[in-house]
Subunit: 397 residues, 2 copies
Amino acid sequence: MKSKTILLALLAVCTFSLKAQQALWGGAPIVSPEVNDDKTVTFRFFAPKADTVLVTGDFLPTEKVKTPFGEADAPINALMKKDEKGVWSYTSDKLASELYSYSFIVDGLKVSDPNNVYMIRDVASITDVFIVGGGKADLYSVNDVPHGTVARRWYNSPGNEMARRLTIYTPPRYEEGKTKYPVLYLLHGMGGDEEAWIALGRTSQILDNLIAQGKAEPMIVVMPNGNVAQQAAPGESPKGLYKPTFQLPHTMDGTYEETFMDVINFVESNYRVKKDKAHRAIAGLSMGGYHSLHISRYYPNTFDYVGLFSAAILPDQKMESKVYNDIDGTLKKQIENGYKLYWIGIGKTDFLYKSSVDFGAKLDSLGMKYTYVESEGGHIWKNWRDYLTEFVPLLFK
Amino acid sequence: MKSKTILLALLAVCTFSLKAQQALWGGAPIVSPEVNDDKTVTFRFFAPKADTVLVTGDFLPTEKVKTPFGEADAPINALMKKDEKGVWSYTSDKLASELYSYSFIVDGLKVSDPNNVYMIRDVASITDVFIVGGGKADLYSVNDVPHGTVARRWYNSPGNEMARRLTIYTPPRYEEGKTKYPVLYLLHGMGGDEEAWIALGRTSQILDNLIAQGKAEPMIVVMPNGNVAQQAAPGESPKGLYKPTFQLPHTMDGTYEETFMDVINFVESNYRVKKDKAHRAIAGLSMGGYHSLHISRYYPNTFDYVGLFSAAILPDQKMESKVYNDIDGTLKKQIENGYKLYWIGIGKTDFLYKSSVDFGAKLDSLGMKYTYVESEGGHIWKNWRDYLTEFVPLLFK
């Protein structure tokens, strides 16, 4: 069989399945989303029989809606317009540079964009994503710069009596030299896992780009799994392909903080790292901010850099764990031991806003220095990517 | 703010977005797919306003359909049944142990299952997947065994004048010891990339499990990108988030074969590997089988183990590349140099069936020994996972 015949036959296999799809989606190849030169974005969706197709997503203007828990911002879904071929389309306003997510709503059903293969999972929801470049989101893109390595690796956690999985970013040229590197431990929020920062947080792209621009020191970034009831992210453990849930047991009861040295010990015995306080940072979002706060206090001479991103702050007063004993005393111990950066970032409309402000007041009363960054917006990944981008250049200088 | 309050508030954020989804999908949490104890599988989909919901997928019985390229097997889509709450459901026949893929078709629109976060991309199509265990697909599951590390890493390819990305599996305890390991180079087909074998092929699960069972030697598996026009998989290169295409230039013109030593050199200078023919294997599916055939001939004293899985076999006679010169002569050179295993696997209904049989006849005429495995089915991932599972235990013994 000649290769042209084979090629035709290979194409036939593919074309057949594409044709099946095209019979569903219409004959013409559809491009969606299309980021236009003027930074508007066009969405297209083939559905000749649908009555209404809306696009929803975080690129849209928002309105206040009432929820049982108070007011919240909800996107004003945009009605798409059908052409004579049955293709619905909508072009957005000019968008700021950002990583956005969206879905279609077809006659009331939320549907992924069949022409976009780029999707990100957040807990049990999957949305399509796109990037508008020409600004800060260029940091979220893969650029023509040296790339670090991203590995998924298992380590033994004696404290949790299980093997556990983590994601680890090693910077460009890590494997080549004999240099020892500093380490940032980067912790996810509730409902997240060791995939959250790398997928939703674009950590490897941000690090590659900041390092290439000379704005960040080359560093290792360790993204462990903060749910001690889990060995690994959904689908990556012997629990199989189950439906992920938001809340898991023992996430905020001191167990993770108390067993965190298992992660540090693993990293420090398996990677070429600088094993001192000056070269260790810990940061996290939401629940991961809570973990970062308490891990850094509980081991008060371990981290010179602490980052609390939209952090949950204080434990339930009824929570009995030695980790949460004597919070003021251990914070004072941190002051005494010294540190270089205690960084707090919070969005003005975050439901945790007040607790961050109150925590700032507590630190003031203790005479504990910190950097406080207030951003627009709420409890969203847009902010956590921003905070990471601001925080990382301050480390290990 | 106390942690219970925070927890409630965190739940509120999540619940709000879940509620929005539930407003779309109905109040009750839906489980789909559900693999039942008797190995039937129940699919559920909330769509109270839909007229017809079908489920399509490779778990269904098939029928012959005519295509412009001849007969092909197509699944007989199953009509789902709506209950009074608007939830459509369908329970399959008892299924053999396998990794299956499926989608819903709602009033003619192909739609992902919103209750299943496990999806795999194949070229530009994304389908939901599930595993029926209790048989061979237990090898495709994450089990309670030691796990290897999976890394995405970039290397320099002087032959292609670019940095390129690959996926690499290192076996459990690779990082701990000083042992040197053998290497399997595992190549994808047309439309694939360095993500294909790890995602669709379940390579890391198969290797972890076969190694734990003592059926395979601990080995490194290198999954490079066989499209020399690409630096990396779609979305992982500076080309951005574009729509993947099936066919790319220069995939079967000798360039990849001629520059393949860049991959080997990288692996052998960056990993603890045994650098001899007895500890190198190369295998690939479809176009990757073509690459394996020609790479092993072109470097005829390099691999003791060659695997051709549903391989595209011979180049276009008009293709001018020194790689494809004197095929019989270079095969004879391989015979002369000696090798341990030349393994050919093909499905009885594969459109490449005849070319594999013809190639077998050619090898017979040259007196070149090979193992020939004929399976049911065609040009599908089910077969390629099977072939990998059969091939790997034969290596490095």
